[in-house]
Symmetry: C2
Subunit: 365 residues, 2 copies
Amino acid sequence: MTFSSVREGEASRVAGPDEGISLDELRLAARNHGMPLEALRYDLTPPGLHYVLVHYDIPFVDPDTYRLTVDGRVGTALEFDLASLRARPKVNLTVTLECAGNGRARLHPRPVSQPWLDEAVGTARWTGTPLVDLLAEAGVLEDAVDVAFTGLDHGTDRGVEQDYQRGLSLAAAVGRDVLVAYEMNGQPLPPQHGAPVRLIVPGWYGMASVKWLRRITVLDHEFTGFQNATAYRIKHDTGDDGEPVTRIRPRALVVPPGFPDFMTRRRIVDAGPVELFGRAWSGQGPVTRVEVSVDGGQTWANAALGKQAGKYAWRPWTFRWSAVPGEVEVLVRAADRHGVQPVEQPWNTQGMANNMAQRVSVTVR
Amino acid sequence: MTFSSVREGEASRVAGPDEGISLDELRLAARNHGMPLEALRYDLTPPGLHYVLVHYDIPFVDPDTYRLTVDGRVGTALEFDLASLRARPKVNLTVTLECAGNGRARLHPRPVSQPWLDEAVGTARWTGTPLVDLLAEAGVLEDAVDVAFTGLDHGTDRGVEQDYQRGLSLAAAVGRDVLVAYEMNGQPLPPQHGAPVRLIVPGWYGMASVKWLRRITVLDHEFTGFQNATAYRIKHDTGDDGEPVTRIRPRALVVPPGFPDFMTRRRIVDAGPVELFGRAWSGQGPVTRVEVSVDGGQTWANAALGKQAGKYAWRPWTFRWSAVPGEVEVLVRAADRHGVQPVEQPWNTQGMANNMAQRVSVTVR
């Protein structure tokens, strides 16, 4: 088999200094959606509130004729239908997923792509069977290097026609917690989340968890398809090959307190004690600390951390704020053992793996 | 009880001639979402793909302590918990809902609000109990004029603090098909669709179907709250009182053919026979005709109409297109007994009740 090695066709675009969101970006925003932040209240994000990013169209897949192929550098190529996947050992895993482009629309200048603000996140209980067992049954050959995952979604990006396809190193692919999943919160996968079968790579940004998974191919070389070599990279200029996007960096989000103005989303809060509640997560390991600033980032105080719902799930936190009348900017940030979220976001051309501290504008009355 | 009679505080805003989508509009677009048009394939829109518009925050309502009050100009004020509503006569109704602002972001100049393109629609099977029976049980007094519906969602809009509240004439409210609904597609309502109880007013734009319904109040005067008197009106200049937004105007949408480019959403189609598929609906009565143009609107031909899934549900249609290589603009439009969708949209200041014909840009190769 061949996998085309792709460099950029057309470069990604960066918006001009005063350029508003374009029609192209709005088209993406109208299709894909974030999690309204008040849904941070739920341990498991309810149906339809989990963030969704679909690169091309949502494929219309008949579960009765669906097949998953395992091939490439294996002893025996395998094919599974949905029933045979469901009959295999079953694992449930609660996982917080975040889009690698979360925060992109807050960058200056703004990389032109799906224009996320803060909300491209969600947590679900995924049910599936370990990928490693499928690979072991097929028999991975000794020269294996990477595993390529191919979805049923098809389109073009920067002039490159493709099925959505991502590669993962063999070492990452054989982690016990990488699932070939067919249920989300105890229900068959919804169409937009990869029905009938998708990959779940816990701890990684969402691009690794290939939806509408039709083929798993073991390679004797590094996978250099578009989504690995071009799209999901942290680049500092357009000539830069960049670094791959991998694990989710730490982030905390707060349920915006009080109530909103319809158009500006500015919050109105009554003076007095306010219990701030939020969640924090990291794909790099446990969240070790959440900090809150109620003075625009001048001073910070620790939030109280609750119990993390699972190794890959977000962690609840609370903070008691004594709100006094005035205009306030609330900031929150999380830390893991690698460090704390930045208050000023380092920039990259494609707006990937941003994790700038959230800011919420509040009028206390 | 008092219901404040509201005129505009601050006027709604219209974007400048070259003004891109603002951060305010993007914040709304990131929370609220349309139905990706490939989901037109489904008779009933799957969970999470139905359009959502939430004015303020999604309330967090405990179904165990939830209560619905019926009061005002009635003989006996009533209170219902969720179990008592569920114990009442049950009606299932398949309803296509559309946001009154659908198409707003396509207007020139663009009214600044939730920036919908074409996709603010969805169809669900709603289960509930007829409103008219609750009103009859309470005993509507002879001086009744309007019925006000109050939600649990709270915020400000143009300086006016409010619970979301809409009024309906008594004549419209006692229609047999107006439901107090507690299930969507056989499941309890999801949070963003009004859990645990909402109103469904079939045939009307979505603003009438009040979510998180907590109170039904019979009035002896016309309801003049913000959402009726100010927000949902078709106005031609800011001094204009305007006409109320009521029933859904006819609209047809097509599943965009072929496959998309990620960023531009331009479609790529192979030359040859292409089966176009879509849906059409009207809240004013049956869809009588769907027309397709494959030459940018110069000529139109009739699509074949399928069976409408219910009195208030969309109607499927198909059209066989012989695609020849080149750049093509496909347009579709529906008609009901009142007329056909416009190709050029008449403008109004708030971008309400637009139903301009859909245009899809296609490269045939």
